[in-house]
């Protein structure tokens, strides 16, 4: 009985690290990877697998998450969470070395506020361009109307 209890205690002590090794901020982590950088807000690791295998792992692991968006960029695949998960993005590198680098970043206000400010400025830019276009088209039209009126007056 004592041995059994000691085994259970040992198991309980060992279990949390092994569970934690499977995820970072609730984002799934591929087992057997080599950790390159790890702090509270960022995990970088590499795995001896190709990009497609890693992507397939994440597609499968996140298939039940509603607000996930996967974007294919030139050098990496970018997975973004638009919901309430504690992580913001998972970046999977593309390459032909047989080793893939994965970066998991914590959800952060810098991104939210940054994108909001940029988009607010974007609204100004759209309307500013419209303003410029209207000024140009307005002046062209008023000139052409002026010329036509001058012609009429002359004749």
């Amino acid at each position: 009985m004592k041995k059994y209890i000691l085994f259970l205690i040992g198991l309980a002590l060992l279990l949390p690290p092994s569970v934690m090794a499977e995820d970072f901020l609730k984002a799934p982590v591929i087992p057997g990877g080599k950790v390159l950088v790890k702090n509270d807000s960022r995990l970088e690791f590499s795995v001896p697998q190709g990009h497609n295998e890693v992507l397939a792992f994440y597609r499968n692991a996140l298939k039940n998450s509603k607000d996930i968006r996967i974007r294919e960029w030139k050098n990496e695949t970018y997975i973004e969470d638009d919901g309430n998960l504690p992580w913001h993005s998972i970046t999977i590198s593309k390459g032909e070395t047989g080793e893939t680098k994965v970066i998991i970043v914590k959800d952060n206000w810098t991104w939210i506020l940054g994108t909001l400010v940029l988009r607010f400025v974007g609204v100004f830019i759209v309307l500013l361009l419209l303003f410029v276009a209207m000024m140009i088209s307005g002046s062209i039209i008023s000139r052409s109307v002026g010329k036509a009126e001058a012609k009429k007056a002359a004749s």
Partner: protein, 380 residues
Amino acid sequence: MTFNEIMDLLNGIMRTTGVFNFDPKVIVMWAIASLFIYLAIAKKYEPLLLLPIGFGIFIVNFPLVPMMGYEHGRPQLLQFFYHYGLEWEIIPCVIFLGLGAMTDFGPLIANPKTLLIGAGAQLGVFITFTGTVLAGFTLKEAASVGIIGGADGPTTVYLTTLLAPQLLGANALAAYSYMAMVPLIQPPIMRMMTSKEERTIRMRQLRPVSKREKMLFPMVTAGIIALLVPSVIPLMGMFMLGNLMKESGAVGRLTETAQGSLMNIVTIFLGVSVGATMYADKFLSWKPLFIFGLGLVDFAVCTIGGILTVKIMNLFLKEKINPLIGSAGVSAVPMAARVSQMEGLKADNTNHLLMHAMGPNLAGVIGSAAAAGMFIAMFH
């Protein structure tokens, strides 16, 4: 037939009625529906929308009514309107077509500077987004709640249907309610944000705008929006098509239909479908209440944003703009412009600001659509 058989038969019949499936929660929804119907009929607050919305809420909140579900895989009546009208994003775009056919962009073309006021008045949209995320909403939900401050009903419905359809009822109701309450919400903010001297600023009479300019405007605007914010072109494209139809004068019959019968038909479908999304089970939670609260703040910040933009512009302009027209930068056409006119007259009873305020008012429609486009681009 034995007595027991008769009782079983009666029991079976009774169970097909709503009485035996009654849920007390629906009483709250009846009260909400009655409130909106009352506001529409007695107070004339956005009656064209609040009345069908109110009735939509009322009618779906009865047990067993075959209105918003599916039967043998086929949508029931209101589900049919909702699915093809809203989920397929048709109704908001058709409403924009009608709005375009009713709009005169002359004041905006005559004073294009006011476009910037329409952009500044989107401040609340982005600030509310942050507040909504802090409250635990997802980013998509936050975007759909934020756009309420733009005070543009079809844009709110369009964006919410795309990003957070579960909030459609609350968002649409908040947007249309606050649009109706512009004369109550804006004046105190306008007086607080401006000095007596600023309120009496006189603006030069707007120049006449030629027909050619008016015809060119929808083409230029549609082109620029399509290039910069293509995601919102279904709305803005239809808006500009309606306007081109009107300004060209070549398709009188089509213009008449777009601004009349067609607009009225889709307004009925829009109102009743939006109302029908509000079941007691879904609606009675903290989220709609929170949306209503935050929508008010959103609206106030958008008003402040518009006025602040005018004040900043005045630092650089020789001919000053009356900051009272800044509040019209939220859409709510033409109510917000009328509020600017009324407040202007209170400060100086010979200073008419209505036509000047129509510029930012119309710019607000374009601005809120641009803001919606920014959000759509963020998530799609």
